[in-house]
Chain length 244, copies 4
């Protein structure tokens, strides 16, 4: 799959998946030693019709997925997997990698030199935090502050990158030279996760309580989830986005 | 995939997978923000040649997999998944389901009635246990004992199944009627697991220390693993079957 | 701690714990680099008063625990542990050991010989299952059936144990001789679990949807949880027993 | 327990534990439905002797722990727990929090303002990296470079902190103002982990292949582990520091 751009330099790319709604149905139906198949929902009747036949879950199987979601029967949602390739700033990966049910491999600043790419928020996304923990609201700051903030951020972060390069040139180990680098620098990772854990991620990170920047990523991840497992994704939303 | 028969009534069936050696290489190479592709290893030059072109990992990438395995860099082996449908006796599932890194859904004897299928060892597989825990050896028992054992097992287990049916007929809940049922009765499950956890399973269950019956399953699982991830499987064996 | 009896031969024993409400508060307050202490809630003013001083969480800290529970902030509930020693029938352990966030070690029927102890329900607990999966109700069966069921169960299960002993006497390995043994036979295990995973267990197993027999165990486990973490336990109940 | 200082501003503090060697023995012996007690190894015979009696594992139980370690029987090492309070720079937490079997709660730069404390290596610890990935060696850089590096690091990092404060003063949300902050800034966390996962951590992080800075922490963690579980810790070292 191609990269879907996120923020100023980031992306999400689905590197591979084994994910469909039928896997949820069948791993639930094994409780009864039963198994479902997709049903024909539309047949094109022209002469090449066989190529146009569409399959989908039966209504009964769709109902089963809703039932499982509502009643927090979570395990049938684990028999699938999404493998993502993600480029994002470190302060976002810090939140992301706290999701322990899943697998991560990330660009190592011990082994190789990072690139001078830093997240700089667009003017309209520089914000103030109003209220107290647990009940924050955010408002845009005034335009003068936002442009000043973004400019300073850009300049200072790149100046720190120059210090990083200076230290490497002087012979300092990359793992130490990075002590200059701000958390807004971009990194990359592979993330492999099943739909149950993914819904937990979406529930927390594609939410009004989530940090704006990680939510931008979570929105893209959710689009990919919807494409691959539309019935499950719909049941998740109907269940108030509570993961089973 | 079709079912591969195991023991007298069991099977292993690969229900789906997202698993190849390249996923190991690329999730490791992301440490350097790099990515590999398969290389052409054989091109058939007849007129339909393009269909006969074979791809494989480069030698360098094969070497990387060996390196990761040897040095216990385990996470790159997690970005893939195997979904198995398994039919096996309960006493085998009891060992199998202790492997916590993976997902299980099983036939429920609370919700539905089980079938009268019990594992009865073949005569040559009835065995004696010699030695003490940690250093057991097994030898076949003499043929009279083995035939008597298998016969009694068959008869008594089926008699218990009749009690199970009798209780259900009397109106006793299935979840209680099963209290008659021996651990040799067959059940079914879906099991989804990544290659790292799978190698840990194989290391313990396809081993001379493993119980004969679970090993029969583990052998089939290993064959499927070898087909999907041949380079990884070979590196695992060379590493004395120690999972990374 | 002493064993608390459950069912006819089982028990739950708290073997050790590191669990109090303050651990929840402090692992949450580290978000602000802050730390709480218990406050004095009662001072006995007689001459030996110091020994009678009672400590508790402040009201603010109690409120924090409610807040965390309600908003599904689960991680602060993980910094504690309960180690249980449990004796229960195998069909109960089969459900219990599917809870993957926790640690299990169990009596091995490969290594040692089991005891002739089987779960036989009391007459009033033999039941019929009415309705369909997802909406079962249970009613007692009539007294004739229940006494007949319990009697047959007792006799047939013990007869199977005699077959087990017969096979062992004949030299059959214990791991194979057990193929005669019903799932109602008692086993033992150690189970170590943190409060977050414990609440998930209680939510599913001390519930009207749970099987009666495992619920008997879950009730005892919940009592122990309440004693050690009363504020957390109360917040869990107020949150409709949904684990965070 | 009091804080043990690590690096220039960090510490490790054992906040609580339920950890002793006997828990390993007993969760292993439950395989045989057996249980061990500590034995008296020394009795002081003076008049206050009872207080001086020392207990320890029997030699047989010590041998069992060695056996379990050698043969990779890992689960008995999970029935215990260590709860640490740690203060360390973010680039160290980034490695630490990749250990998924365990629980973390950390100071949040979304909710509160961080302190101006940055890791600055001592002169003798500024180093060059020689060789290639997988076979690095490190050597001290010359003294002029090291003093220049440390000085620049100190100044530039504190200058970035001033930018952070400037942004907060201007009304920018803390979660965005932090985009200036280098990964060398100190944070705090609670980490709760069992001995099996702890040994895996020690195997990777108190190793010659580990980064110097995280190893300084791992050494302290290992000292605490040795104090609480001396027999287990010794068996771990004898097993070439391979976690079971």
């Amino acid at each position: 799959m191609t990269e879907i751009k996120v923020l100023d330099h980031g992306f999400v790319r689905l590197d591979g998946s084994l994910a469909d709604d039928l896997s949820v149905v069948n791993s639930a139906r094994v409780s009864f030693a039963q198994r479902s198949e997709l049903v024909v929902i539309e047949t094109d009747d022209d002469e090449y019709g066989t190529y146009a036949t569409k399959f989908d879950l039966s209504d009964k199987d769709k109902g089963l997925i809703s039932y499982l979601m509502r009643n927090k029967h979570g395990t049938p949602f684990e028999h699938n997997v999404f493998r993502f390739h993600v480029k994002a700033p470190i302060f976002i990966f810090r939140e992301w990698q706290r999701h322990r049910i899943g697998s991560f491999n990330e660009w190592s600043a011990r082994y190789s030199k990072l690139e001078p790419e830093f997240y700089t928020p667009r003017y309209e996304n520089v914000r103030s935090q109003i209220g107290k923990p647990g009940a924050y609201e955010f408002e845009p700051v005034d335009s003068e502050v936002s442009s000043q903030f973004s400019l300073e951020l850009y300049n200072k972060n790149h100046a720190m990158f120059q210090m990083y390069e200076w230290a490497i040139d002087k012979g300092v180990a990359k793992e130490q030279a990075r002590l200059f680098l701000p958390v807004s620098i971009y990194s990359q990772m592979y993330w492999t996760v099943n739909a149950r854990s993914l819904m937990n991620f979406l529930s927390l990170r594609n939410s009004e309580h989530a940090m704006f920047e990680i939510r931008e990523y979570a929105k893209v991840v959710e689009q990919i989830f919807i494409e691959k497992m539309p019935v499950t994704a719909e049941a998740f939303v109907k269940n108030n986005r509570v993961a089973p």
